[in-house]
């Protein structure tokens, strides 16, 4: 399915970078730290249609990246979704990593662990928060209409996602079709959140045992 392929790709491209960024923000005090955080929070607040608009301007034939012929393709939608989910991931992962003591870093480093392995160990320390961030980000991009419609063009079988077809069916007056697709999205959200809930419940159980 187009929705899943596009959104999962965008998510997997964003995740490693977002992990690094979130980690750097919580474990590394550098000059201009607050500027980066503020900028990220601003990006977070930009409506997705505005991101769509900017991408259309950049990718359209007459735009600076027009030669790439990306407008109304899946890669364009992926770029849009990366721009939408990246700031959200960074913000949530930043918050997650802040729950880990600096001592974790010092301990792993003095036990000979490489920087990258230490990052991985610390990510595992907050695995449920990371999982929640991923689910949240996925939910946000898979449910997004504005940007997907504008840069994807809602081409049947190619760039038509669940949400853009709901929008289309509704304008055609085919409410039943729209509702059915809506239920698909709702079920997806439920399943994902149950997964997060169950795995978190398990971990609490194993600790109290």
């Amino acid at each position: 399915m187009v929705s899943f392929r596009v959104s999962l790709t965008a998510l997997f491209i964003s995740l490693p970078l977002a992990l690094l960024a979130g980690f750097a923000l919580s474990f590394w005090r550098f000059p201009g730290h607050w500027i980066v955080v503020t900028l990220n929070n601003t990006l977070l607040a930009i409506p997705t249609v505005v991101i769509g608009l900017i991408l259309v301007l950049l990718l359209s034939r007459s735009g600076p990246f027009g030669d790439l012929r990306l407008l109304f393709t899946q890669p364009a939608m992926i770029i849009g979704q990366i721009l939408i989910c990246f700031p959200l991931l960074v913000a949530m992962l930043h918050a997650a990593y802040q729950g880990v003591s600096r001592h974790a870093w010092e301990t792993a480093r003095s036990l000979g662990c490489s920087r990258l392995y230490t990052l991985w160990l610390i990510t595992l320390e907050v695995r449920f928060a990371v999982l929640a961030a991923v689910v949240m980000a996925f939910g946000r991009i898979v449910a997004e209409v504005g940007c997907a419609m504008m840069v994807g063009g809602n081409i049947a079988g190619y760039t038509r996602t669940i949400t853009t077809s709901i929008a289309l069916e509704t304008t055609k007056g085919e409410y039943v079709q729209g509702i059915a697709l809506g239920i698909v999205l709702l079920t997806l959200a439920l399943v994902l959140n149950v997964i997060v809930g169950v795995s978190r419940g398990r971990s609490i159980q194993s600790v109290t045992q």
Binding site: S101, H103, A104, E106, T107, A108, R109, S110, L111, G112, C113, S114, Y117, L121, L124, E125, S206, V207, Q209
Partner: protein, 208 residues
């Protein structure tokens, strides 16, 4: 071969304020030192500097006339950080270089029994008591066989039994020829097992 840790003209500042200044300092492997100083005198900072965890504002730190490298000087936190894993997995995360998988598991078993934690191997590390945490932290470091051990207030908040077990471990390290530097803000049961005393006071380090 016995290692030697030396420092010259060490100085630590925070926000432009000097915490301490140490003209010269020598620590030979095999020596046990008790570092005393009131809270806030900079013991923790000094130990982190000596283990290479933080860079001093000024000064030079050499191990056998070379740059300090990870694993030789191991700093242990006052409150050891327990990874949210089982005890044995807290040991498995240690990066032991140049050892086969099998030898590694052997060494982990050995460390567990050294620290008296075999029966806790599969317990979640965060459910351990204070004394057990301290011992797990020592077992973790022991896997790397550091020549110098920096123990930050290891006996704080431990009951007498736990302190006794800790003393036994430290004695065993001494027998293995390790250098021990342990800190406390007052004279404790642990000071008796150290032959030297360093006092951190008013930004100066005094040797006894």
């Amino acid at each position: 071969m016995s290692h030697l840790l030396e420092a010259w003209k060490l100085e630590q500042q925070f926000d432009g304020k000097r915490l301490w200044q140490i003209e010269q300092l020598t620590w030979r492997q095999g020596e046990s030192i008790h570092l005393v100083g009131v809270n806030g005198s900079g013991k923790t900072t000094l130990m982190k500097v000596l283990s290479g965890l933080i860079q001093p504002t000024h000064g030079k730190l050499l191990l056998d006339n070379r740059q300090l490298k990870v694993g030789t000087c191991c700093y242990l936190h006052q409150h050891p950080y327990m990874f949210d894993k089982r005890v044995v997995d807290n040991l498995r995360l240690v990066a032991i270089k140049g050892v086969s998988r099998q030898a590694r598991e052997e060494r982990i078993k050995e460390a567990l029994s050294w620290a008296g934690l075999e029966h806790k191997a599969h317990q979640q590390a965060r459910t351990l008591s204070g004394g057990e945490r301290q011992r797990l932290a020592m077992a973790r470091a022991w896997l790397l066989r550091p020549a110098f051990w920096l123990l930050d207030e290891p006996a704080a908040n431990l009951d007498t039994d736990a302190v006794e077990q800790l003393v036994a471990l430290i004695r065993s390290l001494q027998e293995q020829g390790a250098g021990i530097l342990l800190s406390s803000h007052q004279t404790t049961a642990l000071s008796a097992i150290c032959e030297q005393r360093w006092v951190l006071s008013n930004g100066q380090l005094l040797h006894y």
